[in-house]
């Protein structure tokens, strides 16, 4: 219960900061100033926006399908919110240690699609229906390369537990029950005979344990952009043709809930990318001889140093990914529907199938 409240507050905070960052970064990229009025450098702009949204009248169109229209934002937010339950925050803090973590995450996010369809259909508006149709088609298609990328990591880690996957990517590996006798080799290859279990840092991250996972990471990242309807895959919301897509009829608090769901989704997919590929809460610095950088920047798990370093590394990596998402949004033009589907089915899916095969082979060399 406490975890739920903490996570909600944390999410609200990070969403407020992300929307502000989004506007400032967009302004910087387009050589503008962005929000400047409220507060120094406009830092209170997002707070003002939230207050404005909460005061607005809750308008439900007369011809809308009322139950669907009112339920949709709640379902969307609940689905994304449920995904946060299995994300490990520090070596000893995780809301739910469910063994099927990754699988559960992929499954529960698919509920988001139902919310989208309800919103699109319930609005009784052709732009909304078109937007919802596009969005669902896009999300369902891109789940396949993203799912295969996750599968590659699961094959390398031999686990679906996100906390276990996190422990495998750092110097604390032997402290996880069940991994006491495991060892990490450079690039995961036992034949090289270079034990890096206690060197840690970046050398034990999944993109280093199996170098081809870097390609999987890139594909996962691009697919995750499509899954949260971010530019250059924002055809469901394409302002110039669909006004705003599936949320065109929403206003006030319900719009705020949908907005929150979209930005939470951004945070969630970035967190998952960090946990699966970029070493989770582990430090990027390796132990080099007497300079035990990894040990210094890890702390003791279970104490406040361990918590603090874990949160710092996890969040800083996540923030970099979120920044990249914003950066991409303001740099690339929107794709057409056929280009989008071409990229997913004819480029990413075959590459990922080959990578899954390669990962299987690599796993044989790891043991």
């Amino acid at each position: 219960m406490l975890a739920l409240l903490l996570c909600l507050v944390f999410l609200l905070l990070i969403v407020i900061i992300t929307t502000y960052a989004e506007r400032k970064v967009a302004a910087f990229i387009q050589d503008r100033l962005g929000p400047t009025e409220s507060g120094p450098h406009g830092i209170l702009q997002s707070v003002a926006d939230v207050l404005k949204l909460l005061q607005k009248e809750d308008i439900i169109p007369a011809a809308a399908d009322k139950p669907l229209f009112t339920l949709a934002p709640i379902i969307m937010f609940a689905a994304v919110r449920a995904g946060f339950g299995v994300i490990p925050i520090t070596p000893s803090v995780i809301a739910s240690g469910a063994y099927l973590g990754v699988f559960y995450l992929l499954a529960i996010i698919s509920l988001d699609v139902i919310g989208l369809l309800m919103a699109g259909w319930g609005s009784n508006n052709k732009y909304a229906v078109l937007g919802a149709m596009r969005s669902v088609g896009q999300i369902v298609s891109y789940e396949i390369p993203a799912g295969l990328a996750v599968l590659c990591v699961v094959m390398i880690s031999q686990s679906l537990d996100l906390q276990e996957i996190s422990f495998q990517q750092g110097i604390l590996m032997n402290q996880f029950s069940g991994l006491e006798k495991e060892a990490n080799y450079l690039f995961g290859l036992k034949a090289l005979n270079l034990d890096v279990t206690f060197i840690g840092g970046i050398t034990t991250w999944n993109i280093f344990r199996m170098p081809f996972l870097f390609i999987a990471f890139i594909i996962y990242f691009i697919s995750s952009l499509a899954e949260c309807n971010r530019a250059p895959f924002d055809i469901p919301e394409a302002e110039s043709e669909l006004v705003a897509g599936f949320h065109v009829e929403y206003s006030g608090f319900r719009f705020a809930a949908m907005f929150l769901a979209e930005y939470s989704m951004m945070v969630l997919v970035s967190l998952v990318a960090v946990v699966l590929f970029l070493g989770s809460w582990n430090t990027p610095f390796p132990n080099i001889g007497p300079a035990t950088l990894a040990t210094w920047t890890t702390g003791t798990p279970g104490t406040w140093t361990g918590h603090l370093w874990g949160v710092v590394w996890l969040l800083s990596k996540t923030v970099i990914l979120i920044y990249t998402q914003i950066w991409i949004r303001w740099t690339f033009p929107r794709l057409r529907v056929d280009q989008l589907m071409h990229l997913c089915w004819k480029v990413f899916t075959p590459i990922m199938l080959v990578l899954v095969l390669l990962t299987g082979l690599w796993r044989l060399w790891m043991i």
């Binding site: 559960y104 259909w121 229906v129």
Partner: protein, 174 residues
């Protein structure tokens, strides 16, 4: 009454209630959402039975796949010749005959089946099973005892995929 049993009845009632709503409602789209609630409640019941993998697979396949597909189908074909499709009750007598026969047959089968379950595994709420998850056992069984059904299932899926690809190709081969 222990909380697990209470939750079981709550989700069981939800599943049955949503299924009844699905049959009774005239709006095809609402029926699809009724189905969604039934499937979600079933997933919850699987969790209560410690079948975590089955529960998540239920979410993945039925909620993420089948229901979305049904919703898509309903939305694309909701308006035929300008008026909304409604589910009407037709064939009352023959329909109820089929339903009663099916119900009787299934009830007989379920009541007379000899299950391969360990006797009363959930004596008390604090009595947890030893393994953390069912997925390891399922995985080992799938490639040993049940290798043939597993492979046959994948073959059927492949055939379905090929069929779908054939149907959706532009030029029809005569």
């Amino acid at each position: 009454m222990n909380p697990v049993l209470l939750l079981f009845y709550v989700f069981g009632l939800m599943a049955v209630g949503a299924a009844a709503f699905m049959v009774a409602t005239k709006n095809v789209l609402y029926a699809a959402f009724g189905l969604l609630i039934t499937l979600l409640s079933l997933a919850a019941i699987f969790i209560l039975l410690f079948a975590d993998f089955v529960a998540v697979a239920q979410l993945m396949i039925y909620v993420g796949g089948v229901v979305v597909l049904i919703l898509f189908g309903v939305m694309l074909s909701n308006q035929v010749q300008g008026k909304a499709v409604q589910s009407e009750s037709v064939n009352r007598w023959s329909g109820s005959l089929v339903v009663l026969t099916l119900f009787g047959g299934l009830a007989y089968l379920i009541l007379s089946a000899n299950y391969l379950v360990p006797a009363a595994p959930l004596a008390s709420a604090g009595d947890l099973p030893e393994t953390k998850t069912s997925i390891i056992t399922i995985g080992i069984r799938l490639i040993t005892n049940f290798a043939l059904p597993f492979e046959v299932a994948s073959l059927i899926l492949l055939i379905a995929l090929m069929g779908a690809a054939y149907i959706s190709t532009e030029e029809k081969h005569d």
